[in-house]
């Protein structure tokens, strides 16, 4: 009697196993499906709008007609500015964390700052940038205000990725350098940084991706001007902001789809580059470590 009962249990648990594995696989398929639908839908609707004139002409009637050229300029300039500020700070922080200090109160404080900053919502960055850069420092709605706000937002990403990249450099390389009489800074610049570079670039690319896609932090700091800027103190409108205004205020769905397609394509490109760099990097380190 007992024997049959046991076999029932085993059969039941086997069937349950098959069901659960099916459910888990289904969820993964669902997640990938959502991605395919999102990217596919945007490109399907948006690609027909993408013509050279759409990319290279200024908008007319608040974006109802014409192209998106000034918003492309705005996006590029703001992103470049954000990276120029955040990359040195982020890499320096990562060097300090990975190469100089490993524990203690200073490190705990820096980590707390970085982790907390990573969790701050972009609208808070927007409000802060508005209060601090736009009003308090009197920079107005400008490239400068927007880029500095974005820099703060992408800083934690760059720190984390750069630190991981440096920690992935084998300890033995450092020991060889030290054992030949290399100082700490020589070891960092000649052995650690060259080998961590692809990983660091990956972090920077992720930061670029976030900057390109950001809206809330930018709209209150860089403004929404549709003119091509001439100085760092001019306001700009990024593609994301333009797209948000077009779609939310129902100005032009056609141009909204076009802008969305450009956005999605740039994010795809940025992610692809980041992913490629990371993989080449890991493969190289693995090959070296044998």
């Amino acid at each position: 009697m007992k024997g049959t009962w046991r076999r029932d249990v085993i059969l039941l648990s086997r069937r349950r196993d098959r069901i659960m594995v099916g459910v888990l696989t289904g969820s993964a398929v669902l997640a990938v499906g959502v991605l395919v639908i999102i990217v596919g839908y945007v490109l399907w609707q948006g690609l027909p709008v993408l013509t050279p004139t759409f990319l290279l002409e200024a908008p007319e009637k608040m974006g109802r007609a014409g192209g998106i050229f000034p918003t492309i300029v705005g996006t590029v300039v703001l992103t470049a500015g954000a990276v120029l500020v955040a990359a040195p700070l982020g890499v320096a922080t990562a060097i300090y964390l990975a190469e100089y200090a490993h524990q203690g109160r200073t490190v705990a404080l820096i980590r707390f700052g970085t982790e907390s900053l990573a969790g701050i919502p972009s609208i808070i960055f927007g409000v802060f940038g508005f209060l601090f850069f736009v009003i308090y420092l009197d920079m107005g709605w400008s490239i400068l205000s927007g880029a500095l706000t974005l820099a703060g937002m992408i800083l934690p990403t760059i720190i984390r990725t750069a630190e991981e990249a440096m920690l992935a450099v084998p300890r033995e390389y450092r020991e060889v350098s030290y054992s030949l009489g290399g100082s700490r800074w020589q070891t960092i610049t000649r052995v650690v940084l060259p080998n961590a570079l692809p990983g660091i670039l990956t972090g920077i690319m992720l930061g670029v991706g976030r900057s390109v896609g950001e809206t809330a932090a930018v709209i209150f700091t860089a403004g929404a001007s549709l003119r091509v800027p001439h100085s760092l103190f001019d306001p700009v409108r990024t593609m994301s902001v333009h797209f948000y205004l077009l779609a939310r205020e129902g100005i032009s769905m056609r141009n909204a789809y076009g802008t969305a397609a450009v956005l999605v394509l740039s994010v795809l490109a940025v992610n692809f580059v980041a992913y490629y760099l990371m993989h080449r990097h890991l493969a190289r380190l693995r090959g070296a470590g044998r």
């Binding site: 594995v21 459910v23 696989t25 993964a28 991605l35 900053l117 969790g119 919502p121 960055f125 779609a247």
Partner: protein, 283 residues
């Protein structure tokens, strides 16, 4: 040479404090902006008041607090099971090549701008809800669905890392006793990864509470406490983003005060996540 090394170290320390200084600066300015109105209206009145009509002197943000809770709760209910399932699938079931295809896809999902999510919610989800379930379509449900997709990559990747960190011996021990794969996952792998998974969920929760533009586009933004998932809703973040553009005087201060509340909620969540992750590490 020695002086040079010393100088570099000093410079690096100073630069390394940039993130902490920025955090302090953010706290300082948001509080300076919002505290005056909080003092004038009274914290209790501000947090528990149900009427938001800042141009007429009513500064109650309870509808927005409720809105953020509704929307975030909905996103977790819809998103976490799928995210967890994805993480388990990737870590326990998927073969190497399949995993190498799905992981970057999820990372890509994280990289898509939030306005794009909001827009697709607006053109696909909102009409769908209006037709199938009634109501205006702009609703808690629409916002929760959009947020569920947006937190999916975060929760999945943190949970995945937690699952991967479980030593192989846990699995082998269980499988060797004749347990099925699912039994092994449920009784031995998941409990071991519990704190990491929890940290991932809290992180996703922070994402959901903090998301702004995508929510604005699909939530309807009415300043009423929602009673059904089909009611329109306004979150704390939306409240700031919708009105900061034109607000002035006390109205503007009230938006900064909303920011203070949001900042405190997020910092609280950060601390909880830190504590949970720390407990996981020490074990």
């Amino acid at each position: 040479m020695k002086g040079w090394e010393w100088l570099i170290r000093r410079v690096l320390v100073v630069m390394a404090f940039s993130s902490l200084s920025l955090l302090a600066l953010i706290a300082l300015f948001i509080f300076a902006g919002g505290v005056p109105i909080l003092a004038e209206v009274g914290v209790e009145q501000f947090l528990l008041g149900t009427r938001w009509a800042p141009t007429r002197g009513h500064y109650g943000i309870l509808p927005m607090i409720a809105g953020s809770l509704w929307v975030t709760g909905g996103a977790l209910v819809l998103g976490v099971p799928i995210a967890l399932a994805c993480a388990i699938y990737l870590s326990e079931i998927a073969s190497e090549p399949v995993g190498r295809l799905i992981k970057p896809a999820l990372e890509l999902l994280a990289g898509i701008p939030s306005v794009v999510y909001g827009f697709l919610g607006l053109v696909i989800l909102v009409p769908l809800i209006r037709v199938l379930l009634g109501g205006p379509g702009f609703s808690v449900l629409a916002a929760s669905c959009v947020l569920a997709v947006m937190i999916l990559p975060t929760v999945t990747s943190v949970s995945y890392d937690a699952l991967r960190a479980v030593p192989a011996t846990y699995r082998e021990g269980s499988l060797a006793l004749g347990a099925t794969r699912w039994q092994t996952i449920r009784m031995s792998v998941l409990p071991a990864a519990r704190s990491g998974i929890l940290a991932g969920i809290i992180l996703g929760m922070g994402r959901a509470i903090g998301e702004t533009m995508a929510v604005i586009m699909v939530a309807g933004n009415a300043t009423l406490i929602p009673v059904s998932p089909l009611d329109p809703v306004r979150t704390l973040t939306s409240n700031i983003a919708l009105e900061l553009g034109y607000a002035a005087g006390k109205h503007r201060e009230a938006l900064f005060a909303t920011g203070v509340v949001l900042f405190l909620i997020i910092m609280g969540l950060n601390l909880v996540a830190e504590a949970v992750a720390g407990r996981g590490r020490s074990r």
